[in-house]
Symmetry: C2
């Protein structure tokens, strides 16, 4: 909870390029080895689907994609895999729209801020010392012991702002 990713304050953690997908999967493999957990075929498939999506995806979309890959799957299939990946910090869940996205920094546990474009759905995971620390400070004042902070910001991304201006 207390550690932060080494990113600069102004660089965002964008969704992984298809080259980076392999890196993320490799990281997942070694991370599970370290923790003595099984990175099964199902879990790998689900993580890969989440990584390859260019936007946060819903559980039932993942379910469809698993089936397209010829796998016999039902809702629990997906949710159980997602639960595992969430617990291991390999994916995040966005509560405001019930979607899942790959974590950009599975190496280090961290709390992140998500910028969710209401127009196009593109979502950035941004890491900043500031936000989470301020949240914790405030919580402390109320003697509240934080276990998880969900910070999701809805609005318009840069490119959708331009489009709207152009349209006027």
């Amino acid at each position: 909870m207390t550690e932060h990713c080494p990113h600069s304050e102004t660089a965002s953690c964008t969704l992984p390029s298809s080259e980076q997908v392999k890196v993320l999967l490799d990281q997942a493999v070694s991370l599970c080895e370290q923790r003595n957990l099984r990175f099964t075929e199902l879990r790998k498939q689900v993580l890969e689907l989440v990584c390859r999506a260019d936007q946060p995806v819903g559980a039932y979309q993942l379910l469809d994609e698993l089936r397209e890959q010829g796998r016999s799957a039902a809702p629990p299939t997906v949710y159980r895999a997602l639960d595992f990946l969430l617990e291991q910090g390999l994916v995040h869940r966005l509560a405001t729209n019930n979607t899942y996205l790959a974590c950009a920094h599975p190496q280090k546990p961290h709390a992140a801020v998500f910028l969710v474009c209401s127009q196009c759905g593109q979502t950035q995971e941004v890491h900043t010392r500031g936000v989470i620390e301020v949240v914790k400070q405030q919580a402390e004042k109320f003697d509240f012991r934080v276990t998880h902070a969900s910070v999701e910001v809805a609005g318009l991304c840069h490119s959708c702002q331009s489009q709207k201006e152009g349209a006027q």
Copy 2:
């Protein structure tokens, strides 16, 4: 969005006492008059139920309670009333657990931080200049135009921390 409630940084906005419920309802009445909107019986009933709850409540719980009051109601009945109350800033929705709670400060539009106890469900709405401003600052760096920030913190409230210590 830019205005903040006049609270001190360390005072929380606790759930309304049953005396305060009347005040909140009166505020809703005058607020709707000002805006030329209808504060109908249904909307009043739903707001009152949300106010009287000692914890954030789910939509279907509200539905049950409406029916207990003898009102013919279906899911859209509740959701439409909630949508109205949300738009007017009279209630908040917690995305992390799909519940609704009365806004402590309907007079002034504001963005709030919610401290949600995972043990007992008690939820505090706390207002702090800090958190929301930092969020906005960060968003600006990415040229992201914020319309709404959802900041929900899960953890243990003071009283549940004590209980756990006592149990050990």
